[in-house]
Symmetry: C2
Subunit: 872 residues, 2 copies
């Protein structure tokens, strides 16, 4: 504030049409304790749509309410930023206390107790580990004594003297409170009465009491957190929470745990990959394919333009496939399914521990604020109905919402349809490109057909995914607005759900197609034999996988999508776009370069913050990570290096996000949260789907099951020798349909009578030529059995992991228990004191002895000024 | 108490070696408010093992502690019951208040608000429904105004004047409190210092304030609840909870909901069964079997003693099978899987609603009391270690527990092994009986072979199950005691888990064998072709199912097990055994018939209660229901009438349990609980397993899949004609192994060259005779595919049900929200009053106006006596 004493806790900005109004710069202070949030809210709903004049009127009204609630306001309209008025808000000490009591905020008390450590071997090991991990912890934490914990208790003004004064001023607490007051602000922001609302970043003006061990939080965060050079360290989550509030703290804690958990996953992934590399020369099927004596003539891979080819030319692909298609992959996908379950469990524990450390355990969810749009809709409805019925406070019934719901469902389906259509387009592109390239005369082109087509198709896919991601994001928001959910929370949840569905389909449809449908018409499309698509598309036989399984292609597609998405979305969008926006904003608002520069220096903190990008919520951050989690778990059977790439990305991501939050965004309003909400459910869903998809990838996409079946049922000597021959069926070239035979039958230099193709079908000389053979059904049955066994075993193991790992860490539950006893003790003692006092039987010194003893940990309990905001 | 004023809240009994001691009958009253639970506990642990004299000493010590806590005690040693001393405990008003505050008990305040009902069509419908259901509600509830609800708030002595006085004396609350004091009692009970501890049944001595609208709770419960004539009504759950506490209230609420949910399930089950009956004549395969022209000669069903037989003799079985094996069964098992999910969801909602109505929402779990056994073990250990280390308070480490854990695992496996061994025995019995009966000369015996063997085997199974159930129950307890879990809660959970595992295996192993393994060696044992058992057991081919699928046999086994278990366990054990025990106890304690009779009249309530059966926990009740839930869901595909039988059983069960609780057991200590604990997880587990088992029953046990495959893949005209022929393979009788051919080849009157058997195998004239045919693999693949599809579809539907139905009912969440606002309002007003008072700026009348207005709902807030225990 201008008096240099009170701190600006919160800033509201608004457009001013006529700068230099009559009330500018006037400082106004009122103190009234009447609580009128409920009424002000109702009022806001009533007067929703207004013009500029009305806006000024409504601002005044709102300010009145704020003053009624006991806040102190200051206006600054002739500021250095033209056209923008600032309303600075300060929350005095007693208002904060009142709110803290209403919110049942738990705060540390003065009572300190020692956290006992377990003795014995376990403790030695944990000491050793913590010593090893010592350099990984942020520096400031060393200053805090580790085995001392303050007792926490619900704040109450009557028991204020028990509270620990030093940690009393949690910054998050302040902002939360103020935000609570401004509950009605969202609707005002929505209707343009105010243009922005934000708390201030804490820079060191040295008047604030928010310093942490005499170092400014802001600087500390910049040094210890938003800094690439500390990438190997743990995050200072406690500080982040203090500065940004619990909700953002939980996000970073979650991100940190996820990144941490990726380390073992990527290590195992690398080992699996190396195992594949090491055993590539021992793989009998690929040896057989590559062996120069192998002289198997394969049927053309497409009609007319393709010709017969030698199996040995597929040698490279077969060997590469082995890298990803070996028994270790099966192990790895089971491992990753368990990893996902472990991750969930660990997160639950970490969340519980943080809840305990942050004193959130007893806290019930704050009430939801109804959304302005919803109230507007209700008002419209009640206006329409005004003549029919009397009661005014209505709500939207199912009937009112039906059109919006229908639109939602239809549009969602349409969007998913668009995704499929684009997939179809890419497939057509691939087929036609392949055909065109096959027809080209240059032999080099023809040799590189496979690679060129695959890579370009994957890149096209990637670009489409990136574009649609943005489109779908906007689209989901539009749909949710249309739906008009009642509260902010349900709005957010619905939005997240829609966005997730759309983005998930967008990211994974092409991959699922490649994994399960491409070239699988033998098994899958058997049942749809007369299906239209079959004749149009699959009779081309263009979309067959190269020999060695489709796993290789899946892998290429996956790596390009994942890496591309991460690189482009992270670097381009997350770093580039905000900078660009800031630049544009800067250019727009500047009136002259020189003036601007000069003004910059004079700007107050709240004016500087006004130029920062507003905080847009955590949804995009979470969404990005969840999609990445999908890449890591869903198709991990085909791409064991996915966790490694994710790990590398996340190490950068954490610091990138940190930088963004500290320096490039307006400080977000600190929100309390006990958990990560709907994201946890989405994670669980992804992990569940991952089990099924991995089961199918292993049994249908990889060659694992056919190999097993061959080895144990058909192999004459129990080895893999002859496997390649076994998987290839015979085709009599004289049986080619009219117009389907190859145009270049003599490409290999000799006429071909019998060619081979990859399928389990009867040979031409059997009674039922080209019918599906018994081997096919055998392999299919084993594949399906594998899916059932895999799915149920992994689900069972997940349940066991879930059951074995308690949700609440043992030390935390012990500590909670202990705290409870100590608290009861504390209050018992105090009560006795009171009884003594009332009865007046004990001497005063006795009372002193009894009651002061509790406070003895703090030297002078009341020597500090009562309102630290004014002091110092 | 003897003064006739104060109420006996709790009674402890103990053995007296020397009746008429010096201190008998003395009445002692002390009041001290020092709290020493923690210390007394520690003390109890120290002095664990003592003799009779020590016991008396420890009793005195314990009584001292109780008095320290502010309780009033009265001893009654020269009572009418010889050898038993009674210690009566009364908890005075202020002690109760103190404890209520510590426990953060939520109690209704005087503030009343109206529950708004939704308007419109929905409301009309719900009014209509509630009018229809009116007669089903217990009578007393009508007196309570329905749309008025008291605000609840955490009890605090400072705000006592706000609390609603009338409902203040919840009986459960009283007992809970007293029990809380007696936290150390369990260890004393365990070591025999006291023999029993129980609160009293409320009979109408007219001194208690616990009457509910002037009618005694006890009588009301007897009339409206523990009465077979009200079986069609809802239970008065509110009363049950008031009388027995939340834990038992929740059990009956759960049982009630389960029974209620069984109504639609049994209705649909009956419809499915009727559909089977109606279509039995349209079933083509059974028509083909029964058709007199069918002249298929079947191979002998066992070696040597059996002979060839005509397929048409299996007509009856085939027709009966259709009753349970028709397409409606598939629908029904999907329905039941969803039903189970719905049941879970409904229970979650009901639980939430009850939590809200019973003011348990904010309540955190009470601390666990360490078990006496655990403390004893810890003591033993620390004694042993005494010389080595100094610190005394130890805990059992993993190392200490290792032997117990190992024993547990080994014994559990052994027990499960016993179950399997018994199953094996029954199988052997069945085989040998069959062979013996086949060899008998009487043709009538031979005709009834199937039925006789099946039924006797099922009855043997049932008897074994019943006996083992009891054995396993005792066994699980022994194992858990051995394990020495730390707290009561973990003891209970471990015990429940073990008992459940053992009883579950016991009940379902024979059924699972029949469903999946019997006669399935074709499909299942193919992979274990050289397996030892195969040669010993399955080459007998005795355990083949009759034609028409094993479903029929499964059904017989299921119905006998389920009905028998219910009838015998319910009627014999639950009614008979307690009566018997009571009788024995009566006989034992009586010294002469006449004396006894006379004494009965003089007996005090606490002495009468002493003769009742002690309350043994809810575990057996829950266990019975969970096993029944297993029968209803696990194999519902084979026995659609299971829900009906369960429903009939439960209607009786509720009233039976009610009677038991009201009249035959000592009143249990009221325990608070928010949920049904581990039972919910077990229910979820059973529901999950049910999905998989039903999938397997439909695809492997029933003929559903082979029929589908035949109809859509092999049938020449798309109908079921020829299905029977398709499923039978050919066997050349000259290929019989040495010693395996039938001894009576001409039983049918003609020599047989080719006989048929039920399997998919190549005919003798193929290239690979008797090898598994392509059809087999086709059917197997489709079966497995069905399992995958069924399982995942049902799981997905379950998840959707879970997601669609919110956990907290909408009206409850609205009410909670409303209450919160009202509470804040209330406190705000009060605070303003205080401010006025402090500032003394407002006139006293103003204050009066402001503060009295809140209390206006109660006419004279302080006119009632402060301690209603003493008054009246």
């Amino acid at each position: 504030f201008q008096d240099g004493q009170r701190k600006v806790d919160y800033v509201l900005t608004y457009h001013m049409k006529k700068p230099g109004g009559s009330r500018s710069g006037r400082q106004s202070m009122y103190m009234l304790t009447e609580r009128a949030v409920a009424r002000s809210l109702r009022f806001l709903g009533d007067a929703f749509n207004g013009h500029e004049d009305q806006k000024a009127f409504r601002r005044e009204e709102f300010e009145g309410k704020l003053r009624d609630m006991g806040l102190e306001l200051e206006k600054d309209e002739d500021a250095n930023v033209s056209g923008v008025g600032f309303l600075k808000i300060h929350a005095p000490w007693n208002v904060l206390c009142r709110e803290a009591e209403f919110m049942k905020l738990k705060l540390p008390t003065k009572k300190v107790y020692e956290v006992k450590k377990s003795r014995g071997v376990v403790e030695k090991i944990s000491t050793l580990i913590s010593k090893i991990l010592e350099p990984l912890h942020p520096q400031f934490e060393e200053r805090q004594p580790k085995n001392i914990k303050h007792l926490s208790h619900t704040f109450s003004r009557e028991k204020q003297h028990l509270q620990e004064r030093r940690t009393f001023f949690k910054i998050s607490f302040l902002s939360v409170n103020v935000f609570f007051f401004c509950a009605g602000i969202t609707s005002l922001l929505g209707s343009g009465v105010y243009t922005a609302a934000y708390p201030l970043h804490d820079v060191s003006d040295k008047i604030q009491p928010h310093t942490y061990y005499n170092i400014c939080l802001d600087e500390l965060l910049y040094e210890e957190w938003a800094n690439y050079s500390v990438f190997y360290k743990y995050q200072p989550i406690g500080l982040v929470r203090k500065y940004f509030g619990e909700k953002i703290g939980l996000y970073f804690a979650w991100l940190g745990l996820y990144t941490q958990m990726l380390i073992p996953a990527s290590l195992v992934g690398i080992i699996v990959f190396l195992y594949g590399c090491a055993t590539v020369n021992d793989d009998i099927p690929s040896m057989e394919i590559c062996h120069p004596k192998t002289n198997i003539t394969m049927c053309p891979q497409c009609d007319q333009v393709c010709s017969y080819w030698k199996l040995s030319t597929a040698c490279g692909t077969a060997r590469a496939s082995h890298l990803f298609d070996n028994p270790a992959t099966v192990f790895f996908s089971i491992f990753m399914a368990l990893w996902a379950a472990m991750f969930m469990e660990h997160w639950k524990r970490r969340q519980m521990r943080l809840n305990y450390e942050w004193d959130l355990t007893g806290f019930e969810d704050e009430e939801d604020h109804p959304r302005a749009e919803y109230e507007f809709r209700v008002m419209q409805k009640s206006m329409r109905k005004d003549r029919k019925s009397q009661h005014k406070e209505e709500k939207l019934t199912c009937q009112d919402r039906l059109p919006a719901y229908m639109t939602n469902i239809v549009m969602m389906l349409l969007m998913i349809g668009v995704t499929f259509a684009i997939l179809f387009g890419v497939i057509l592109y691939r087929i036609s490109m392949k055909a065109a390239l096959h027809m080209s005369s240059s032999p080099i082109t023809r040799n590189n057909v496979q690679l060129t087509v695959k890579t370009t198709a994957a890149i096209i896919n990637l670009v489409v995914i990136l574009i649609l991601d943005e489109v779908y994001g906007a689209f989901a928001r539009w749909l949710t607005v249309l739906e008009a959910p009642k509260t902010e929370k349900s709005f957010e949840e619905r939005l997240i759900f829609k966005t997730f569905i759309l983005k998930f389909f967008n990211a994974f449809t092409p991959i699922i197609y490649i994994a399960f449908f491409r070239g699988r018409y033998g098994s899958f499309f058997f049942f749809f034999y007369n299906f239209l698509l079959y004749n149009i598309l699959f009779s081309y036989r263009m979309e067959e996988c190269a020999h060695g399984g489709c796993l290789m292609e899946l892998c290429i597609q996956l790596s390009i999508t994942m890496l591309g998405k991460q690189l482009i979305q992270n670097n381009l969008f997350e770093i580039g776009v905000p900078k660009l926006k800031k630049l544009i904003r800067y250019i727009r608002s500047k009136q002259g370069a020189f003036q601007e520069e000069e003004r910059q220096k004079k700007l107050q903190r709240y004016e500087i913050d006004h130029f920062l990008e507003p905080f847009g919520g955590l949804t995009p951050e979470y969404m990005e990570m969840i999609i990445q989690f999908g890449f890591v778990t869903l198709f991990v059977a085909s791409f064991p290096l996915a966790p490694l790439f994710a790990l590398l990305n996340n190490i950068i991501e954490i610091r990138l996000d940190a930088k963004k939050f500290v320096a490039e965004l307006r400080r977000p309003v600190a929100a309390r949260a006990q958990d990560i909400g709907i994201w946890y459910n989405i994670l669980r869903g992804v992990a569940k789907v991952a089990v099924i998809i991995n089961a199918f990838v292993i049994s249908f996409t990889s060659d694992f099951i056919p190999r097993m079946v061959y080895q144990y049922m058909y192999s004459p000597d129990g080895s893999m020798h002859g496997f390649v021959n076994h998987t290839l069926s015979y085709f009599n070239t004289s049986h080619f349909q009219e117009g389907k035979e190859t145009m270049d039958p003599l490409l290999l230099g000799y006429p071909v009578d019998i060619c081979r193709y990859k399928d389990y079908r009867e040979p031409p000389w059997s009674e039922t030529p080209y019918e599906i053979s018994k081997e096919f059904w055998t392999v299919l049955a084993v594949r399906l059995a594998f899916v059932i066994v895999f799915q149920n075993v992994v689900m069972l193991m997940n349940d066991i992991v879930d059951w074995l790992i308690p949700d609440i860490p043992k030390d935390t539950s012990l500590q909670i228990h202990k705290e409870k006893i100590l608290l009861v003790d504390l209050f018992m003692k105090e009560e006795q004191c009171k009884t003594y006092m009332h009865q007046s039987t004990a001497s005063p010194s006795d009372y002193d002895h009894c009651c002061r003893s509790k406070n003895s940990t703090a030297a002078h309990p009341r020597s500090r000024p009562n309102n630290p905001n004014i002091g110092s």
